[in-house]
């Protein structure tokens, strides 16, 4: 797989030489990695390794100091956030960011990929296709019975699922999740892992996660970050036995 590096067009996402510096501190330092279509990639690393910053850079929340992010051959670093979303990148935040004042249905409807301009949103009609799509996504995220509920009444885990559902309904090609199982119960973790397996049939997924067992359950490949750089990359077994990783995680 590494041999394919030269012809980056085969990759869904190609991050090359990505650097961002906050007042001289390089949170992400000359980072390169590549995502294949329909892969589940997990980024792990100690606190402050720059994992969330990488997602911020890809989705446009933070602007890169240098380097490139190519998604299906298109350069993302110069695009506006909503344009990046339209090109097919969806991102879930670490803390559940759902619209608490709206119902589950409305949350999903707001994310429906239609009527994104002001006038479009005014003209948007809730037709049968929309309703069916929302119901189908609600089934996937285990919330089909909660559609009428205000999102503020959902449990922490359900909010996480709802936000994943809000990504799914956008039909992105790449889904980025920042610690999706943080704060979840054991049962919820298992269901989330199932959910991710379903999602990867049609999407490429980039996940940040700390829970090593969960990582082992879902990951095709793992990228270990440390101090803004890639420390190690490969299968979970490969990464676990890498002496550099052991040193960073267990060394001191």
């Amino acid at each position: 797989m590494k041999a394919a590096k030269s012809k980056s067009k085969d990759f869904l996402l190609a991050v090359e030489g990505l650097t961002v510096s906050f007042d001289g501190f390089k949170a992400v330092d000359d980072l390169s990695f590549y995502l294949d279509p329909n892969e589940i990639r997990v980024i792990i690393g100690p606190n402050g390794a720059g994992k969330t910053t990488v997602l911020d850079l890809i989705c446009g929340k933070t602007r890169a100091t240098s380097g490139s992010i190519r998604f299906q051959g298109r350069e993302l670093t110069k695009m506006k956030e909503h344009q990046i979303v339209h090109s097919g990148v969806g991102r879930k935040f670490q803390t559940p960011s759902v619209f608490e004042d709206l119902t589950v249905f409305e949350n999903l409807e707001v994310s429906y990929p239609q009527g994104h301009s002001v006038m479009g949103a005014l003209a948007f009609k809730r037709d049968l296709a929309v309703v069916e799509e929302i119901e189908s996504v609600a089934r996937t995220i285990f919330l089909e019975d909660m559609l009428e509920q205000p999102a503020s009444l959902l449990s922490h885990g359900q909010k996480q699922w709802l936000e994943i559902g809000m990504l799914l309904i956008q039909k992105p090609k790449l889904i980025m999740l920042d610690e999706p199982v943080a704060g979840m119960s054991v049962v919820e973790r298992k269901k989330t892992a199932e959910l991710l397996k379903v999602i990867t049939r049609e999407h490429t997924v980039l996940v940040i996660e700390h829970d090593m067992q969960f990582v082992g359950d879902i990951a095709d490949r793992v990228t270990v970050m440390h101090q803004g750089k890639v420390l190690s990359e490969g299968s979970i077994e490969h990464v676990k036995s890498d002496p550099k990783v052991i040193e960073v995680y267990l060394g001191h």
Binding site: E81, F99, G115
Partner: protein, 401 residues
């Protein structure tokens, strides 16, 4: 959300709230009040336009503007300029050194009509300008602020500064604007004398009609996906942005909408009181407008209408007896609203009256709105002037959306 026929809608609970307001404004108040008082209610209602705009902009989308007086004033000044030109015929101004221009220009040694006054000879242009000028300014401010992600308290301060700037500009450019006195002595609208009681009553009904147009426009937006995005933006701006929306465009839209409503209100204000001056558009006036909205309930467009009516009625009542105490009373009112009932009277209504109503609804499904009004009205027979709006307190009609 089901598109039921209009009749059905009016029989629904929400429809009854609108009917109750219409009944109050079209039947009850005109019957109860003399022409002078009714004109005052009309004046209060012009502030309700601003309050509705603030509900959309501040309550829903979370953009607090402390400069709505600017847009109210621009609408009002546009109308005043037209009326002033009509009043300044060469015959009426024959004693001036330059007849045919507004009197204050003559006093300030201006000998020709300034270029930006010229278009206001046309009534059609004036009508467009009443909405267009405030919207254009809101668009410029909105593009400058929102695309740079200026928001929250910084935005509020900037709007307040703009209110101060506009006031200073108007006062300073006395020859072009009438200065601190404003544009006064307005007489006719296309030959129709607006100072008579009949004209004032007619204008009152025009105001009510336009108010309902604005209410329904705001309601339509609330009911659409657009409205839900505005609400969503308020608490989770990033989530909206990363759901593929250009947040700045939505903010600019709602800010312009509020400006348009305020402009309409301002123009009607000028017609209703017969003059326009900087004191109606400055910082204090702008903050008062926020209070109307906050007291009525910043999440409810109907609440905002009642808020504007009540605070203004209280202001008139209070100012008649204790003029110097009013600012303190209003300050206390605002603190009370913020501390005790942040969603204003509409919020109180939803918490305390709606459950009662629900019981009523179940027993007598059709007579809810009117029953309630009748039941409460005799209980509080108003004793003195300025209290005549008290019976309405229990009639607060929040938007249920």
């Amino acid at each position: 959300m089901k598109d039921s026929p209009v009749v059905k809608w009016f029989a629904s609970r929400e429809g009854l709230y609108y009917l109750a307001l219409a009944l109050l404004l079209v039947v009850v108040l005109p019957v109860m009040l003399d022409a002078f008082r009714l004109n005052m209610v009309g004046k209060y209602l012009t502030y309700a336009f601003v309050a509705i705009g603030l509900v959309m902009c501040w309550g829903k989308a979370g953009i607090l503007s402390l400069g709505q007086g600017v847009f109210f004033g621009l609408g009002g000044y546009c109308m005043a300029m037209y009326l002033k030109l009509e009043a300044s015929t060469p015959e009426a101004t024959a004693i001036q050194s330059t007849p045919g221009i507004p009197d204050f220009m003559d006093w300030n040694q201006i000998t020709a009509l300034p270029w930006f006054w010229e278009p206001f000879n046309s009534f059609a242009f004036t009508l467009i300008a009443v909405i267009g000028v405030p919207v254009l300014l809101a668009l410029i401010i909105g593009v400058a602020m929102f695309t740079r992600r200026v928001g929250g308290v910084y935005f509020a301060i900037i709007t307040q500064a703009i209110a101060a700037i506009l006031t200073i500009l108007i006062i300073g450019q006395q020859g072009y604007t009438g200065g601190i006195n404003g544009i006064t002595d307005l007489r006719t609208l296309m030959g129709w004398d607006i100072r008579t009681d009949e004209a004032k009553t007619a204008l009152y009904f025009v105001t009510v009609a336009l108010l309902f147009v604005c209410l329904f426009a705001a309601r339509l937006i609330q009911k659409r996906k657009l409205g839900r995005i505005l609400v969503a933006m308020n608490t989770q701006e990033n989530r909206v942005r990363f759901s593929g929306y250009d947040v700045a465009a939505f903010k600019i839209f709602v800010f312009c909408l509020a400006a348009a409503f305020a402009g309409i209100g301002g123009a009607l204000f000028t017609l209703s009181v017969g003059f326009m001056s900087p004191s109606f558009i400055g910082i204090v006036a702008s903050i008062e407008m926020v209070i109307f909205c906050a007291l009525g309930g910043r999440l409810s467009i109907l609440g905002a209408v009642y808020g504007a009516l009540l605070v203004n009625a209280a202001k008139s009542g209070f100012s008649e007896s204790f003029p110097e105490l009013w600012p303190f009373a209003m300050g206390a009112l605002f603190i009370g609203v913020v501390l005790a009932f942040p969603n204003g009277l509409a919020g109180l209504y939803q918490t305390y009256v709606m459950p009662l109503e629900e019981r009523l609804f179940r027993r007598k499904p059709k007579t809810d709105g009117s029953q309630k009004a009748k039941a409460t009205a005799p209980a509080q027979t108003p004793g003195e002037r300025g209290k005549e709006y008290d019976p309405l307190i229990d009639q607060y009609s929040p938007e249920k959306s």
